[in-house]
Structure formats: C-alpha cells, structure tokens
C-alpha cells in the first residue's frame, strides 16, 4: 500500500493535467451539444416538413456512426477539404456533433410528451408556435427531459476518453502514456478510474438534486 501511495503521488500531477483536459473538453462539447441538440429538437418539432425531415435524416445518420469514426473523420479527412482543426477542436467538434444528436432526441421526446391539451390551450389564447414553445412547452419539457439529459452528460464525460485516439492529452491518454513509460499499469489505471469516479459521482449527485428541485416546483 505504501508503494502505491508513493507511486500515486508521483503519477498524480500528470494525471491531474489530463483530468483538467477531460473537464475542459467535456464542458466545451456539452455546451455545444446542448445548443445544437435543442436546435435539432426545435426543427424536428417545428411542424415544417422542409425543416423537420432533413434534420431527422441528419440526426439519425450521425447516430448510426461510431463516435471514433466521427472523430477520425473530423481530424483526418476535414483537412483535405481545407478545414484544419487542432486535436482539441476536432475532439470537441466530434463529441458535440455526436452528442447533439443523442441530446436532440432526448429533447424531442420531452417536447412530444407534453399533453395535447396544453398545445390547444396555448393556441386558443392566440399564441404562435415560438411563444408557445417558450412559455408553455419547454418549461414543462425540461422536467421530463432532465433524467435522460443527466444520463447523456455522464455518457459524454466518459466518452470524452475516446478523443485520446486523436492525440488529445486528456485523462485516458495521459494514463496510457504513463503506463507505457512506467509499466505500472495497475497503479496508473486504478488512479485513472478513480479520477473518473471523482467526476461522475458528484455529477450524478448534482443532477439528482436538480431533478428533485424541478420536480418539487410543480
């Protein structure tokens, strides 16, 4: 155990660097994925076929491609058409794109779960679609959507490890590098796993609090 702690102390600074990168990439892609996801959901529920159908095809297309392939595509193929992104930017773009589609579907399901009577009540006082969304549908959908959204956030955090394949120096990448230079797989990957738990467990708790707070306001 003593050797574990001394080694851990030795490895931690490097791993903490990776942890910060993991947090940065998760937050950046979550923000982007949420905005895009909301956009997909609003387009799909707009009632305007010319907007809804292309969005649906796009979302279902992206959902059918493994995240690693999306990342490779953005990092290795996009430069050929003149879009040169850093590894970090490509990582954020890939995660955000993929997760915007998962989150978008979650939001859409929440919007569609609202009772038809609410829509009729909103229409019957003269509300147009955008106002109805803003004042009637979305505030109610938020509650329904919170649990699956929280789940998406945790999945996104864990999937941020995938960007190690395009050389982003996040936690998993740092762990791999450290393990191959020290051959101390046991210590390194135990620490990596624990550091992920240091993020996911509090995040889970926060999300549950938010759910309770939203549910309680009813």
């Amino acid at each position: 155990m003593n050797t574990f702690t001394t080694r851990a102390a030795e490895y931690l600074p490097l791993l903490i660097n990776g942890l910060w990168m993991t947090i940065a990439i998760t937050l950046a892609s979550l923000a982007l994925a949420t905005v895009l996801g909301m956009t997909w959901a609003l387009l799909r529920t707009s009632g305007i076929k010319a907007l809804a159908l292309p969005t649906r095809i796009f979302v279902e297309g992206v959902r059918g491609i493994p995240i690693l392939v999306v990342l490779f595509y953005i990092y290795f193929v996009m430069p050929d058409i003149g879009i040169d992104l850093t590894a970090f930017q490509a990582g954020v773009a890939g995660l955000a794109l993929t997760y915007s589609c998962y989150i978008g579907e979650t939001f859409r399901a929440g919007i569609e779960a609202i009772d038809r009577g609410q829509i009729e009540a909103a229409k019957s006082i003269g509300m147009k679609h955008p106002l109805m969304m803003r004042r009637v549908i979305l505030p109610q959908a938020v509650r329904i959507v919170m649990p699956p959204y929280a789940n998406n956030v945790i999945m996104l955090l864990k999937d941020s490890s995938q960007v190690s394949v395009i050389t982003v120096a996040e936690l998993t990448m740092q762990g791999k590098a450290l393990a191959s230079s020290t051959f101390d797989n046991m210590t390194v990957f135990t620490l990596v796993a624990l550091l992920y738990l240091c993020l996911t467990i509090p995040l889970n708790m926060v999300m549950r609090r938010v759910e309770v707070a939203l549910g309680g306001a009813k």
């Binding site: 009772d115 009577g117 609410q118 009729e120 009540a121 229409k123 019957s124 006082i125 003269g126 509300m127 147009k128 106002l131 004042r135 009637v136 505030p139 109610q140 306001a217 009813k218």
Partner: protein, 243 residues
C-alpha cells in the same frame, strides 16, 4: 357574429360535419346538444381553428376562419375557449395562468394585467387562490381559473366544450353559476353541454346536432319543451331520464 355556412368536415373518409348552417348573434348564449360522436366538439373547434374544415365558410364578424391564414391568431385572441379538461398550464399559478395571454400575446401592461387578472379570479370566487398551482386545485376550481383565463383576453365570444363533464357532481354547480353570470352580462357563448337544465334556463337558443347535421334549432324553450323531431325527442328523453 359567428356564422356557419354549409360547413363540411371529414377525417379522411369519415364525414363528421355534413353541411352545418347556423348563426350565433352577439350577446346570445347558444347551447349545442347531441349524442356522443355527433360532431359537437368538432363544430366548436372549427370556430377557433383548432380543427380545419374542408368546405363552406365560418365567419366571425366579417373575418373568415382560415387556419392557413395569419389572421387565425388574431381570431383566437377574440374568441376564447374553455375545455372539458381545463388545460391549465400546470407550471404556472392561477394568477399567472390568467395573466399569460394578455401579457405575452396581447402585450399589455403588466400591472394592469395583474390587477385585471386578480379581479377576474375574485369574480369567479378564487380570490384566495391567486398563487395556487393548478395541481393543488379541485376540478371545479381549475375550471373557474380556466374561465378567468378566457375572460382575461376580453374576448367577444367564448366557446365551451362540455365544461362540466369532467367534474365531480358537487362541483358542477359552481362552474355553471359562473357561466350564468356571464350570460347575464350578455357574453356571447357557444356551449357544448349535456346539462339540459342549464340550457333550459340560460340558453337563448339550442342547436341539436346528430350525425353531423343540425336536426333542429330554435329558441331554448321551444326546442327543449316541444321538440319537433322524433330524434330530438328521443335524445332529450335519454339525457333527462337515463335508464
């Protein structure tokens, strides 16, 4: 002020309104009665464009009801609706429910709207429930909030679709009482109802709808006391003397 001219409506091949002609004059209360599935709700919902109709004309004052036209939103601010299942906004208090339309649709001044909304809630007997959420109100209270929400738009007419059908019997009276008050103030109302007693006392005229057609229409006293058609007689016998 509300006019139906040969209105036809079908869901797919299923014809629901088969040529409706009717007119509701300003300040009058018209009750729409008829068996289940006869098209009462559909007829009502065509007036504010919650349903579309395929042919004929519905006009409100001079405005044609056309769901494809931007004017439909304006029509809906002038013709309010009260639903069987209340459809209050559950995430807003009673007061906020009533303020919602005038504030966000009509963009009226907030403090004026607040004063008017609390006056209206007082008037429907809910002055002590301004800050209650719909979930904590009884069905009768919710329906009265819904009526206040409709009135807050200062509509020229109100459509009611079986406003007491989802209520426990002991709450029917309080809602009908509010509606009676509106009738006395000459609010134009088109009311789908099974409350024959209410129709008898309050309605100026009654329309009897069966199978998508208006079988009989006329002053409430005549139609409800001496129905001319066998089908109307049958229907009235069944609703006033069940079993």
């Amino acid at each position: 002020m509300i006019n139906f001219e040969n209105v036809h409506k079908a869901y797919g091949h299923h014809e629901v309104l088969k040529g409706i002609d009717a007119s509701i004059d300003r300040g009058k209360v018209v009750c729409l009665i008829g068996p289940s599935g006869s098209g009462k709700s559909t007829m009502l919902r065509c007036v504010n464009g919650l349903e579309t109709y395929q042919s004929g004309r519905i006009t409100i004052d001079a405005t044609l009801v056309d769901t494809d036209d931007a004017s439909i939103h304006d029509i809906r601010t002038r013709v309010a609706m009260v639903f069987q299942r209340f459809n209050l906004f559950p995430h807003r208090t009673a007061l906020e429910n009533v303020m919602e339309g005038p504030l966000y649709v009509l963009r009226q001044d907030r403090s004026d709207v607040r004063d008017r909304a609390s006056d209206l809630l007082n008037r429907v007997g809910l002055g002590d429930k301004l800050n209650a959420y719909p979930g904590s109100l009884s069905g009768g209270q919710q329906q009265r909030v819904a009526i206040a929400r409709a009135l807050a738009m200062q509509p020229t007419a109100i459509l009611f679709d079986e406003p007491t059908s989802a209520l426990d019997p002991e709450m029917v009276g309080e809602v009908l009482h509010v509606m009676r008050g509106l009738a006395e103030e000459h609010m134009t109302m088109l009311v789908v109802t099974h409350e024959i007693q209410f129709a008898r006392e309050v309605a100026d005229s009654v329309l009897f709808l069966d199978g998508g057609r208006i079988v009989e229409q006329g002053p409430a006293r005549d139609l409800l006391h001496q129905p001319r058609h066998e089908r109307t007689r049958d229907f009235l016998r069944r609703v006033t003397h069940p079993i």
